[in-house]
Amino acid sequence: MSQILLQKEEGKEENMNGHEIFVFIEQTDGTIEDVSLEVLGKAREIADKLGGSVTAVLFGENVESLTGEVAKSGADLVLYGESSLLKDYTTEAYAKVFEAQIRKRKPDVLLIGATHNGASLAASLAIKLGSGLMAHVIDLEIESDTGKLLGSVPGFGGSIVSVCKCSKGDIEMATVRPGIFKQREPSTSRIGVIQRIEADLKPEDKKCKVLERSVKRTEELARTERVVVAGLGCRGELSLPKELAEDIGGSLGVSRPLADKGLVPKDKVVGSTGSSLNAKLAIVLGVSGAAHFSSGIRDVKTVIAINTDSNSQIFKLADYCVKGDLFEILPYLTAELESSSK
């Protein structure tokens, strides 16, 4: 431990290479968010390039048992703070203890997975610390002449990217879009230092109370090979799209309005506020192809689209286009697939 700490303290002022990257490790009820480990993997890569170090920061009520996995996934140092007031994520309490740690150790960079909790935490910290913050970046690089972090920030639904950097403040910050970077294989040969930190909170610091939580983790759309995507053109009638998804051995995704109506869980949304698919095949039914949706099917290998409107934008984004009523075509398609699979 002392070796890393010493290295850091000496490196800080004189040595440009003394980069310390902080990564927030988000956990809910003892489960670490995938994106946190993805960010950790990227931070490790950057730190190795710059000769710096990676510090993972974890808060919760009983989180010590999670620290080993974090160390194996790329952190040189794992700081964990425990308090019953940190059991549930609330921005006020988390931002307070996190700010204290940052002021104490003065890291150069802070990276946070762009979940809803992560985005709120990051935006609050940026104001507390007086620092720039790049929003849900889809790429991170180091600017060669300055050593500064360059983040690719998607805008306008994801079709246009601005390459940004932080121009003021003592720390450079970014939130990172889930599903972009790869998690590292946990390595048992990595020896990270694990250190408990003070989480100095009073009950008054916790201004919000979580009364109830319901989280169900399902198979991630981003990792599914074949996806049927239903849009508003399905008029809320999802039995045919579901049957088709089953027939092709895939899963069902939706455009955002269907999830907003409560017809399917939010984690089935495809697009800028949902998942980006990496599937081999996507069959897109009754979706118009709005900008916020389109970024979600960019990396799909083969796209089939069925839409009644021959001018629909979706046909510019598809390999096989069917101008027609999905309710007319799907019964034949499922019958065809079901008979040929016998």
């Binding site: 549930d88 935490l121 913050l133 929003a135 639904g157 919000c208 955002r256 069959i283 960019r298 286009c321």
Partner: protein, 260 residues
């Protein structure tokens, strides 16, 4: 209940094009609209007002061309509207934007709720709401729907990874409203005439807000844009499959099998 709604006017994103030579965004001829999620925020504020009484004030930072959209919000039911407009506010990142909005909220005075949308449709940073809460020193409930007042506390359903949580906060509080959380009402036609002709819009500039030019707009931003680029659209075949429904089904089944 005294509510403020931070409302942005945004270009219709689907009309935006990118100039690959100049590396700039082409805004000419692009229509504007009230940012989608902010209509949901306004609706949430208006429906709370219906149950609990009080006032709803809309605040927007932007150029004078935003004015008709603020009047539209008034015709939907907002009691008052304030435009924060000054050349110095231009090209602000979320740090400077949230600072100006928070300063205006402080100038308005006491409030119970500040509403935002979860995201703007153009920038979509989702950072402005939490940043405003921080400047104001009030708690926040982000990505919320089903917002209710119970025993002078706010309770909302907050969307999180893989599900939701029910969260309660004391007042005053900042709430960012989930896109699609409700169905925004239409403007009231009689009210619209009044809003367009007689309603007096408040406009505040940098002096009115008592802010330093170094703290707003481009100068007051903490991030800078090095370059803009568009992500090239993936090459697609764009092949139309035609015939009777049966024939189409047969051809699609072949494509599906081939893609295994």
């Amino acid at each position: 209940m005294k509510s403020l709604v931070c409302m942005k006017v945004a270009p219709k994103v689907d009309q935006i094009k990118f100039d690959e030579v100049k590396k700039t965004i082409v805004r000419e001829g692009v229509e504007n609209e009230i940012n989608e999620a902010d209509k949901n925020a306004l609706e949430a504020a208006l429906s709370l007002k219906e149950t609990h009484g009080g006032t709803v004030t809309v605040i927007s930072m932007g150029p004078p061309s935003f004015e008709p959209y603020l009047r539209l919000a008034v015709s939907m039911g907002a009691d008052d509207a304030i435009l924060l407009s000054d050349r110095a506010f231009a090209a602000a990142d979320t740090f400077a934007t949230s600072r100006v909005l928070a300063q205006a909220i402080k100038k308005v005075g006491l409030f119970d709720l500040v509403f935002c949308g979860e995201a703007s449709s153009d920038g979509s940073t989702e950072q402005v709401p939490s940043s405003i809460a921080e400047w104001l020193g009030v708690p926040q409930i982000t990505y919320a729907n089903n917002i209710k007042i119970e025993d002078s506390k706010v309770v909302g359903r907050r969307v999180i990874t893989g599900g939701y949580e029910i969260i309660e906060s004391q007042l005053p509080v900042l709430v960012s409203v989930e896109l699609g959380a409700n169905t925004p009402r239409f403007p009231d036609f009689r009210r619209k005439r009044w809003a367009d002709k007689e309603f007096k819009l408040t406009v505040w500039n940098i002096q009115d807000l008592g802010l330093n030019p170094n703290d707003v707009g481009l100068l007051g931003s903490y991030t800078i844009v090095k370059e803009l680029k568009s992500l090239p659209a993936p090459a697609r075949k764009g092949e139309f499959v035609t015939g009777s429904p049966q024939e189409i089904a047969k051809k699609l089944a072949q494509v599906i099998k081939a893609s295994a």
